[in-house]
């Protein structure tokens, strides 16, 4: 069992928890993720390690409530426990001094982009960041992102805060104006990463994305997470999660994310009707 030490609501549907997992914290690095189970009957879901504290032995996880498991997680408070926290899984981001880099975070993707931007900054890069969300309520960590960026652009789809635009618009303008970033990192919903990749491709700007395919074990034993990159089947959990965005078969990823759409709806309805039925007394 893994204790939740701290919880914060970043936005109405975006929550942050700090959970005690000393072994995982000891090894965690930017770009990696954990697989968690909320309770004994719960599903295994992957969440990115948004931050970690080796001294305290804690991990920071940020999640958006999109379905049953994340909503159930959203009911947890400091002092509650998670049934499992497994990790750190996947390869860490390859951090070096590349020169100028751009970090793009969309929605809940702002959480995982932050430790990457921070490490890139520490490695001596000039970090330009673009963060965006559908509206002001979904935006978080602007201050943290500012603290590790040389430049920061904030966008919202509806213009309720920052510039009214999708993250791809300022990105395209920068590239069109002749900026030649050595690398671009983009993390967010699959559809956003797809359009970032389409935006950067004509400029030949190397673009790294962190794929969020459906997972079960997170250790390479099931193949649920398989995607196609450069025409080859890859397992996101062990070979990723980061890949070259220009090589990803985005339509396949988007289709595979929808496999359980009907069941996800049923699970959520069942939960809303019956509440949590596990034996953990939560």
């Amino acid at each position: 069992m893994y204790e939740i030490l701290y919880r914060e609501d970043l936005a109405p549907v975006t929550k942050l928890i700090e959970v005690k997992a000393p072994l995982v914290a000891r090894k965690a690095r930017a770009g990696q993720f954990v697989v968690i189970r909320v309770n004994e009957k719960g599903e295994r879901i992957p969440l990115t390690i948004a931050d970690f504290d080796r001294e305290k032995g804690t991990l920071t996880l940020i999640f958006q409530e999109v379905g049953k498991t994340t909503m159930m997680l959203g009911t947890k408070r400091a002092g509650d426990y998670l049934a499992s926290v497994v990790g750190p899984l996947g390869h860490p981001s390859e951090i070096e001094n590349y020169g100028t880099v751009i970090c793009v975070g969309g929605g809940v993707g702002i959480a995982p982009i932050f430790p990457i931007a921070r490490e890139l900054k520490q490695a001596g890069n000039k970090v330009i960041s673009i963060i965006g969300a559908r509206n002001k309520d979904l935006l978080f960590w602007e201050d943290r992102m500012r603290s590790v960026s040389d430049e920061l652009v904030v966008t919202t789809d509806d213009g309720s805060y920052g510039r009214k635009a999708l993250v791809t618009e300022p990105l395209k303008e920068m590239l069109a104006a002749g900026l030649k970033p050595a690398r671009i990192w983009a993390i967010g919903p699959a559809i956003m990463m797809k359009f970032v990749s389409l935006t950067t491709q004509p400029f030949g700007a190397p673009t790294i994305v962190s794929l969020n395919s459906i997972m079960v074990d997170g250790t390479g034993m099931c193949g649920a997470c398989r995607v196609s990159v450069g025409g080859q089947t890859r397992f996101v959990c062990v070979e990723g999660p980061e890949f070259d965005g220009h090589q990803v078969d985005w339509n396949l990823l988007l289709e595979r994310q929808r496999i359980y759409m009907d069941e996800e709806k049923r699970a959520l309805e069942h939960w809303k009707e019956h509440g949590c039925q596990c034996d953990d007394g939560c």
Partner: protein, 481 residues
């Protein structure tokens, strides 16, 4: 009744029409009178051939004699001198190719039902309470066992009995390995597995779950933490695909994913349990091993109307246990022999619609000694299906080796390990089970765990040292208390 007139006793089973709608155990086990009757059939051979067929050399005539005479406690004691997990082996060993294949009665008629008797005696013990064995005084030595499958559990249990402090590190959130995530409830109830795990823990073994060695901890970390020996029992859990077009369509599963969702995550009880699985009306399972039978029969129980096993060789080469094939046939699983998929096709939303197959003929024997299947040109045909489950075999997961130095592996990804002692090419690291042999059997994994535990014990007691590691193979030290 004279012994010669007693026939091999059938084991009662749930009715096929009923059981295809539930996940309860299919085979129900012998009642006591039937078990004793079956036990009378054994000739008590002076040189029992059956024992030669058992990978761990269970003293078969002795345990059967005690059972026959009503000494059930004595019977289980004899059994456990060689086999820690009889409730499991009695259920899942391929007896027809092992112990029962060698039984002399099988020459003219039907062999003694050794597996069913083994199961009976183990189930009796579970019901009446398990006796704790003697445990040697603590040696103060720490051993780490990686993986809580049959190999790891057996090694851990024996090492604890030798007096060492053992910790098992397991990647998943539940112990048991394939026994928990692969083999379904209707063939191996999970409370049976749980009881065997509890027994091992009752010997003083510690279990750390959710710990992926190679990620959460590395072998080097474990040595730094003071472990003097490490046993690797991480199995062969990596799924294989065919690399044919269309394998990534929605509705195509590896057997590992499908069975993990159903067994470990209990998708058959969705939405009470959160993890879903999606099975349509027509399901094709590719392969014909135990894994394929388990997948096919699970799909049926999840509501599929037509489930086919698609296998490129013929009935004679089917590798699954005879009992599973028999049960699958009773349940109405269709078998398409000499058939191989060449492509999976889908609809515009990315879902499987069907599978194109080609018919095969048997040619010359291949490296495995079985006739090589060769495609018959122009014989392609289409099957309409909603799901394809790939049950093609598995390979070892390389994750455990992240920072491991000096552990040699073959090109199939298995560890180069001494078949008797389990020693790897790196001193202080032993390995056994599927990680060494590739996908094999529960009993062979257990046997490997047992032999490695004995060798580890000899090492920790100074019978040999690191300097002797690569020298001429040690004899496995004589039996322990």
């Amino acid at each position: 009744m004279p012994r010669e007139q007693i026939e091999r006793q059938e084991m009662p089973a749930q009715d096929p029409q009923e059981r295809i709608h539930n996940f309860y155990e299919v085979a129900l086990g012998y009642p006591e009178e039937i078990a004793k009757l079956e036990a009378q059939r054994c000739l008590q051979c002076k040189k029992p051939r059956c024992v030669e067929g058992c990978p761990v050399e269970v003293p078969i005539p002795e345990f059967i004699a005690a059972l026959r005479d009503g000494d059930l406690a004595g019977s289980i004691r004899v059994m456990k001198s060689k086999n820690n997990l009889p409730a499991i082996c009695g259920r899942v060993c391929p007896q027809e190719t092992q112990c029962e294949a060698m039984c002399v009665l099988g020459k003219k008629g039907q062999p003694v039902a050794i597996g069913r008797l083994e199961r009976f005696i183990a189930d009796w013990e579970r019901k009446t309470g398990v006796q704790k064995p003697d445990i040697a005084p603590p040696t103060g030595k720490k051993v780490a066992v990686i993986g809580a499958g049959p190999a790891g559990l057996t090694a851990a249990g024996d090492l604890a009995r030798y007096g060492h402090k053992v910790t098992i590190y397991e990647a998943l959130h539940a112990p048991g390995g394939v026994l928990i995530y692969g083999i379904p409830e209707f063939r191996l109830p999970k409370d049976v597995v749980r009881a065997e795990v509890d027994y091992v823990l009752s010997l003083g073994v510690d279990l750390v779950l959710d710990c992926v060695v190679g990620k959460t901890l590395t072998l080097e970390d474990l040595f730094a933490d003071g472990y003097e020996a490490i046993f690797l029992g991480t199995g062969a859990g990596l799924p294989m695909f065919m690399n044919i077009p269309g394998e990534n369509y929605n509705g195509v599963y590896s057997a590992n994913e499908f069975l993990t969702r159903v067994n470990l995550m209990k998708a058959y009880r969705f939405p009470e349990y959160d993890t879903p699985v999606k099975i349509g009306k027509r399901v094709a399972v590719v392969g014909a091993g135990n894994v394929a039978m388990d997948a096919a029969r699970s799909a049926l129980r999840l509501g599929a109307e037509e489930v086919s096993i698609v296998y490129r060789r013929s009935r004679d080469e089917v590798p699954a246990r005879a009992e599973e094939v028999h049960h699958a046939e009773e349940e109405g699983i269709l078998f398409k022999f000499l058939t191989n998929p060449v492509e999976i096709y889908g609809n515009d939303k990315g879902w499987v619609r069907g599978m194109r197959c080609i018919r095969m003929a048997l040619g010359e024997p291949d490296s495995s000694g079985r006739p090589r299947p060769v495609p018959i040109p122009g014989s392609e045909f289409d099957m309409e299906v909603d799901n394809v489950i790939m049950a093609l075999g598995t390979r070892p997961n390389p994750m455990v080796f992240t920072d491991a130095q000096g552990i040699e592996r073959t090109r199939h990804g298995t560890i180069v390990g001494d078949p008797i002692t389990g020693r790897t090419t790196r001193p202080r690291v032993w390995a056994g089970g599927d990680i060494v042999t590739g996908a094999a059997t529960v009993i062979s994994a257990m046997g490997a765990g047992k032999r490695a535990a004995a060798d580890i014990d000899a090492f920790l007691k100074g019978v040999f040292t690191e300097a002797d590691w690569h020298a001429k193979k040690e004899e496995v030290p004589a039996a322990h208390p």
